[in-house]
């Protein structure tokens, strides 16, 4: 069966408008968590502190679990 190539109807103006939003950080994509992450140094710092804490906890010998996990969270295997 032959495929008929469909030409995208995106206009130059639409692309420029979307790019302008991106340049200003107002594009919906920038509002997603990953978009916020890459733009926000504090967010990145907080994630690093959390990641380091988790890493440190993993390596702590004989760590005991005293916290009660919130509902829906998994216990470590």
């Amino acid at each position: 069966m032959r495929k008929i190539a469909r030409k995208s109807k995106t206009t130059r103006e639409a692309v420029l408008a979307e790019l302008a939003l991106m340049a200003e950080g107002r594009h919906p994509e920038c509002q997603k968590i990953t978009g916020r992450f890459v733009r926000c140094p504090q967010f990145q710092q907080a994630c690093k502190i959390l990641a380091d804490a988790v890493q440190g906890e993993t390596h702590r010998y004989g760590a005991k679990r005293e916290e009660v996990p919130p509902p829906g969270w998994l216990l470590p295997v």
């Binding site: 995208s8 994509e29 968590i33 978009g35 890459v38 470590p76």
Partner: protein, 320 residues
């Protein structure tokens, strides 16, 4: 069995399995805007590029290459064009934060054997072989690095100097580059005007086509000059090796030039090589972006013309 660490992990049910990270470099967004404004990017590619400025710029670059003979270049050369945030891909140095860098580099060198062509042209005029050679080499060297008998002579000279420092220099043998250069190559090339006049009157069809192809190649390669790079970019490339050759020219298959190339190529990647072409791009500067793309177009068209010429060379595509 391992000991539990005490870390509690959240369940990931319902969490998206893929995030499309729009960590777009602001320079890529600006360049995408400029390319769209200049009509160098095709808005129809936006959706296909998943609305990513980086992918969209890449699509524009690809289209540009195709429309300037990219397919023909690929028949004889393995060149890559890219737009990078750093002039030095190996150092991780970010370069200037306002600029992007358009770069062209080969994956491997194309190969031309010119001996049979030079013999054929010598019959027409004794100085035509040297004229043909210099037209061809001059045009290509304007845009990419090539390796020929002059590099091979330098290599042998260097090897001789090294050997002289040894206790028994006679034990070394060197490729006879001088001996493999055709006598016709030692003659002075004809003036361009003379070659043009001569080309019109050549009766042999293949010889005429070859000379005409070299004249065309010369003309195309001169459409623009290579842009200069800034001191800052030059510094970033200070410790680099010379660019990788995009073309090797020898006179016969397996001659001394090829032997020198094989030997020297072992060290090509000992340090990161300089790009063959590097053009600095300020993504907000419309005339500058236009110039950078025009420069790439001339390089592409030059290499496409070289590819057409390579297809005509007698004995160039024989195996063995």
């Amino acid at each position: 069995m391992g000991q539990a660490s005490g870390v509690i992990l959240p369940k990931l049910d319902g969490a998206p399995v893929e995030y499309r990270l729009s960590a777009e470099d602001p320079r890529a967004i600006k360049l995408a805007q400029t390319l769209t404004t200049l009509g160098l990017a095709e808005p129809g590619d936006w959706d296909e590029a998943k609305r990513s400025p980086t992918n969209y710029v890449q699509a524009a670059l690809k289209r540009w290459l195709v429309s300037h003979g990219g397919e023909q270049v690929r028949e004889n050369f393995a060149l890559n064009a890219m737009i990078s945030s750093s002039p030095n891909l190996y150092s991780g140095d970010d370069g200037c934060r306002e600029l992007l860098y358009l770069m062209v580099d080969p994956d491997s060198a194309g190969y031309m054997i010119l001996g049979p062509t030079l013999e054929m042209l010598e019959v027409i005029h004794p100085r035509l072989p040297a004229s043909f050679y210099h037209l061809l080499v001059g045009a290509i060297q304007r845009w990419v690095r090539m390796y020929d008998y002059r590099d091979a002579l330098e290599r042998v000279e260097m090897l001789r100097e090294w050997a002289e420092g040894e206790s028994d220099p006679e034990q070394y043998e060197f490729p006879d580059v001088e001996g493999c250069i055709p006598r016709s190559m030692k003659l002075k090339p004809l003036a361009l005007k003379h070659v043009r006049q001569l080309a019109v009157g050549i009766n042999d069809q293949l010889s005429r086509q070859l000379v005409q192809a070299a004249l065309d190649l010369n003309e195309i390669s001169r459409r623009l000059r290579r842009p200069e790079i800034s001191e800052e970019t030059r510094e970033a490339l200070m410790d680099s090796n010379p660019p990788l050759p995009a073309l090797l020219i020898s006179f016969k298959r397996h001659d001394a030039v090829l032997a020198c190339y094989d030997d020297e190529s072992q060290a090509f990647l000992e340090a990161c090589p300089e790009p063959n072409l590097i053009v600095e791009i300020d993504p907000t500067d419309q005339p500058g972006v236009r110039r950078a793309f025009d420069t790439l177009a001339v390089l592409c068209e030059t290499m496409a013309a070289a590819s057409r010429l390579a297809a005509l060379l007698p004995g160039n595509n024989q195996e063995g």
